[in-house]
Symmetry: C2
Subunit: 150 residues, 2 copies
DNA sequence: ATATATCCTATTATTCTGATAGGGTATATG
DNA sequence: CATATACCCTATCAGAATAATAGGATATAT
């Protein structure tokens, strides 16, 4: 399984956003420079995240982006689905879903849906807060500041 | 999650193959016509499946393809991996795997790997025999010949 | 010898992805 | 109210990946 650049950039952007105090904004330029992401490309991505209800924004001088919700309330599955499309087909009715499924065996379709659902479950159980926490812990460990878990 | 045409065609081809008595061959032309798959494209696919050890072949007059193993011994994961590449990264050592993973957050990489492993597990638990059986049962049910499960 | 059927390499067409371009719109500030 | 700032929006483009086609080479049963 592979994430598109857009999704990768989106995760980095949101983890960046999650490190700002709640309610304060950050600017595209700052994010783009610090993460070596093409600025104009990043604009499209943040706009999509905003339209998806993950980010909010303020325009004009002193404006910028900020998370629309707390990091613990943003599921990784949500982020992936903005750019990769629906992970698991919730609608099983005949005729629902992608229309070109017809020339595929129902058994194979079912198998793919089951695999998709399994992956979707993993993403759905992870939140932006989890990702940030995990990254922080990894950084601490690399600095020779080992953490012990019971 | 989406399978490429090659993988879809491969599944259909192998389910077709599984319906022949063990040891008997089928021809590309027959398979292509009955499943509306471009014949030349199908040749490439069967060749890949042969090189992957899933199919065997006999050349010349009266030749054709046949399964290299019994359908119950061919995992769906194997079929997917021939065309989509490795499903789950088995090697976790530093430097292993795709090299462009560097500009992605370790936490995100780990999450993706976990989701991949979940999907891979589903495919690995399914065999060609399972798919054929499921399709047969579905066909019977559609014919107004309902089957009852305890 | 010949017809059959797989084997192999190259090329083409189409679609998707990643990125760039250029301006439009809202807003804080002096 | 002019201006600088920073998001908003649409279009376009280059390259990669996918889907398919093309043309023969090779092996083999008869």
């Amino acid at each position: 399984m592979r994430l598109s650049k857009k999704t990768e950039y989106a995760f980095r952007a949101l983890m960046f956003a999650a490190r700002f105090p709640e309610g304060t904004t950050f600017q595209i330029r700052d994010l783009a420079e610090k993460n070596r992401i093409p600025k104009k490309f990043l604009e499209l991505i943040l706009l999509e995240l905003k339209n998806a209800g993950v980010l909010s924004s303020r325009r004009g001088v002193g404006g910028g982006y900020l998370l629309a919700r707390r990091p613990g309330a943003i599921r990784s599955s949500e982020i992936v689905e903005v750019f990769e499309g629906p992970l698991a087909p919730k609608d099983r009715r005949k005729g629902a879903g992608n229309p070109e499924k017809e020339d595929s065996s129902p058994a194979v379709s079912r198998l793919v849906e089951e695999a998709s659902a399994a992956a979707a479950g993993i993403f759905a159980r992870s939140t932006l807060a989890d990702l940030v926490r995990e990254e922080d812990e990894a950084t601490l460990r690399r600095r020779g500041n080992p953490m012990y878990f019971i």
